[in-house]
Amino acid sequence: MNAPVASLPLLHVADLSLEFRTRSGTVFALENIAFSLNKGEMLGIVGESGSGKSVLAYSMLGISDGAARVTAGTAMFGGADLLKASEHELREIRGREVSMIFQSPRTALNPIRKVGHQIEDVLKRHAAVRGVDLRERAIDCLKRVRIPDPARRYDAYPFELSGGMCQRILIALALACQPSLLIADEPTTGLDVTTQAAIMELLSSLAAEQNMASILITHDLALAAQYCDRIAVMHAGHLIECGPAEEVLNAPHHPYTRRLIASTPHTAPSIAAMSPIPGNLPDLRRSDLPPCRYAGRCERFEAACNAAPLPEFAITPHHTVRCWNAE
Amino acid sequence: QDARKDALLVVNENGPNSLDIHGVGANRASYGVAWIAYDRLMSYGKKVVNGVPYYDYAKLEPELAESWQVAKDGMSVTFKLRKDARFHDGSPVTAEDVKWSYDRALGMGGFPQFQMSAGSLEKPEQFEVVDASTFRVKFLRKDKLSLPDMAVPVASIYNAKLAKAHATADDPWAAAWLKNNEAGGGAYKVASWKPGQEIVYERFDDWKNGPLPKLKRVIQREVANPGTRRALIEKGDADMSFEMPPKDFALLSQTKGDLVVKSTPVENAEWFIGMNYNKPPFNNPKVRQAVAWAVPYEKIYTRAFYGRVIKLWGAKSMNVTSADWPAVHGYSTDIAKAKALMAEAGYPNGFDTTLSFDLGNGTISEPIAVLLQESLNEIGIRTTINKVPGANWRAQMLKKEMPLFINRFGGWLNYPEYFFYWNFHSSDPVFNDSSYKNPAMDKLIDAARFETDKKKYEAQVKSFIDLAHKDLPRVPLGQPVMDVVMNKNISGYTYWFHIQPDYRQIEKK
């Protein structure tokens, strides 16, 4: 069956701004974020810690901290605006249409509930499965994420499982209702490289099987490049570059992206060749943040950078960059 | 509500700790048990003084004995027991039971033995079973207390057969069993007893030794908190209480509500400040007098006793003029005089000492102590207040080392020499807490005890009271008053020397 309108993306985020109102000031955590995601596509979001990757993901699901306020923007998903949806509507979407998996899988599971039951909770909620079928369906879910001996694992508690195994459970939980979008927030941080490889393989093969779109949030540019179709780079609440993975990796246009790539050990031929990014992320609580938040760290900074709001240049139809001095 | 009609609910601070008055450590509340669950051969008569019903210590009336005859030589008495008298288990009361009971009072030692000896009842041979319903007591000497002493709770008659069934070789007097089980024939049976909680009496309908009591049930509950007791009484949820702080009695007696407060002076009793007669600094008579002049009598009267005592200070003369007992003394509050005496005694700068009292009497003693402390401070006697827990009090009294203390004493038998014997005799009984020793005093007490001539007797009484006021081992503060608060619909309350109400005469409308 063909998609009714091929050009319509699965998720289209436009102009998203979000702030946290805290006692110590307002944190302008996201500003003018725009990206879209097609069916079956995997988008990688990379950036330094604190650049707003998680906040962005949470805002999609409406599970942001209570202090968060979406001040502008839309996130159209299957005809509904996720940002304006009521809590009730969102609850129907979460876990059924859009799912999420998290970093540190061990703590992301309820430590005192059998993993089987945790999957059942989701099934009961969304798939309206009842009774004996429930257990079967849950074991099915475990089987799908290639857990050896799923019937036995059904009765296990998270503490009895290894980290990689917990992450599989978490994936099973997220995919239990076959959502059309999966957001993975650093799903392999803290896991061994070998386990990381296994989890990523699993994720990409499952996504392919179900034609599911996914967002992979990670620190690891190399990882994102290996698995994602497109990569979005974030810095201090701005999405500064977004494009096909190879293009972004091999021909970055934003100076930040450039630096980020250069500081990744993977790509650097030697230590001396690594070029760290100078300075720190700006304090997002300042109300007089410059239009370009990278301005303070940028080697190509000019007075013009502070003059007007950031423009968005399309390098190619699918590759956009937000910088005055983009090459 | 019907259940309440013939039943009386009494709330008190303390309850009995034993059903056996002969038992070791039986407390005052257990006198009450002995009084109504057991009978004695005789009881006292009744009189009305100033409209207040009073027992009459001078008059003996039949109880278990329907009559008695004192021998011509005055050296024995023979009792005829009632034929129809029954114990609670239905068995008849015989002279055997009486003898066993008297023997037991002597045989158990301790307090019952002492009490019996106060009436010169000292040897089992004195008690003789003549026949099943005739009992004789032989006297060792002529003692006016002998007969009255047979009407006090200690002389209760036990069901010997029943008790003996529970005696063992180690425990020939069945003390263990009788402590928890009642074996009497009194007007009330103990229906249930939960030590520390409540005792429930039920009327013994076969009681023949007097008019059948009106109340079917009497429940005596222990409510430790005075505030709670007062609330219960005021709300009418409880019928009666005779253990309340004096302040509550004072206030309740003024309010015109559904409550009646009956107050009766306790005979032969005193509140006093005691001083150690043998040890410095109180061995100095000037110091003792200084204390007597420094006591804030009026303040203590209003703020500690709330007026619930009879004043025993401020007589016009320092000399004793009548044989009335308890007697009024001539001291009053005069700090200047007290200060002068302290200087004379060689303590112009005063001294430090401790002021002790029994925590069990704390409700009254503590305020006295505080007021006294303040006053003594003015004449240079700096005191530390020492609250002695009830358990320790007897031990402290026995040691006779407390320099300064507050205490009260009451004698069952209403004779001043009885009081003096216990309190001032140099044979040093426990209650001689000042350890007062004066041969002149001993002579007077011993003489009065066996004196038959009324004039001489009164002269002796006057002189020993006078001696006590002069030597001043104690400063009397007041004569206690027995207060009982009850609902208006309760009648028939009479004061008894053991200061427990006699439920047999009480009615509820």
Partner: protein, 324 residues
């Protein structure tokens, strides 16, 4: 090869985890570290890397084995004196350690300068406050920590700054060997790069030896001369870094190298480790620890042990497959 700075011989550390249950965290490990050499230690989580480093840093006692330390002409066995009293050992200052979590490894109630000054007082024996201050500032300069940050508490410092304070403290006693237990794992990529550059720089300047523990093989590749691969308490392969990454011999090392994310392998399914890891508790002494997960597993792997053998110059690996 000249005399190594540190020669570890048959080091064993077992933890008691229950009645009759011993967890073999470090099981008969021998290795050398030459002066000025940096050795990378890699391996799966829980394979005993930290335990080994803690034993070498004399924070805990080994059950058996020796740690020979050559300082000039002198040689001493560090394992001979118990850890509890090692604080006063003459060689305390020469082996130092930098911890993974810079956040956790700084006393929250110590200013940065106090933290750096402590070894100066206790190990170097400096007393003079001015001299200490000067030295602290010098050390801060080495690690690129602005002096105005010295008066701050750890929570007032960023992750990279904290890492620098940790390194400065470790350098204070002029050590010969620095043990680095995942010093960059908690840092951002951008900060990680600067710290790595700092470490490389220090090594060159001070002639330090490193034992560098890491998950990230890419980092090890960049920083280390030699790499030691551990699996469940055992060394399974060791050799020159480039050599090991280019030609891994042990199946585990092969999988490890294969699992390094690589954009060039996009679309190709990776070789994935199957099966479950063996338990480190009371392991079968004869069986290969990797047996069960090893794609080339054979019955003999369970029957007798193999020891490290040279597969290329200076390149050792322990596997039956290499015997043939």
């Amino acid at each position: 090869m000249n005399t190594p700075l540190l020669r570890v011989e048959r080091l064993v550390k077992h933890f008691k985890v229950g009645r009759n249950a011993m967890l073999h965290a470090v099981d008969d490990i021998s290795l050398d570290i030459a002066p000025g050499e940096s050795v990378g230690l890699v391996g799966e989580s829980g394979c005993g890397k930290s335990t080994l480093s803690r034993v070498l840093a004399r924070l805990i006692d080994a059950d058996s084995g020796h740690i020979h330390f050559h300082d000039g002409a002198q040689e001493s066995d560090l394992a001979a004196s118990p850890a509890a009293r090692f604080a006063r050992h003459a060689q305390r200052g020469v082996v130092q350690m930098v911890f993974q979590d810079a956040n956790d490894s700084l006393n929250p109630r110590y200013l940065a300068q106090d933290t750096i000054a402590e070894p100066l007082r206790l190990l170097v024996g400096m007393k003079d406050a001015a001299a200490i201050k000067a030295r602290v500032e010098e050390l801060a300069g080495w690690v690129g920590l602005p002096t105005e940050l010295l008066g701050r508490y750890p929570h007032q410092l960023s992750g990279g700054q904290k890492a620098r304070v940790g390194i400065a403290r470790a350098l204070a006693s002029s050590p010969r060997l620095l043990i680095l237990d995942e010093p960059t794992a908690a840092l951002d990529v951008s900060v990680q790069a600067t710290v790595l550059q700092l470490l490389a720089d220090l090594k060159a300047r001070l002639g330090l030896s490193y034992l560098f523990v890491s998950h990230d093989l890419n980092v090890v590749r960049l920083l280390c001369d030699r790499v030691v691969v551990m699996y469940l308490g055992k060394v399974v392969e060791q050799g020159p870094a480039q050599e090991v990454f280019a030609h891994p011999h042990h199946p585990y090392t092969q999988m490890l190298v294969a699992a390094i994310p690589d954009p060039h392998r996009k679309g190709q399914p990776a070789q994935i480790m199957q099966g479950e890891a063996r338990s480190p508790i009371n392991p079968d002494p004869r069986a290969c620890r990797f047996h069960g997960r090893c794609p080339h597993g054979e019955p003999r792997c369970e029957l007798h042990t193999v020891s490290l053998r040279e597969v290329a110059p200076q390149h050792l690996a322990a596997c039956h497959l290499l015997e043939d």
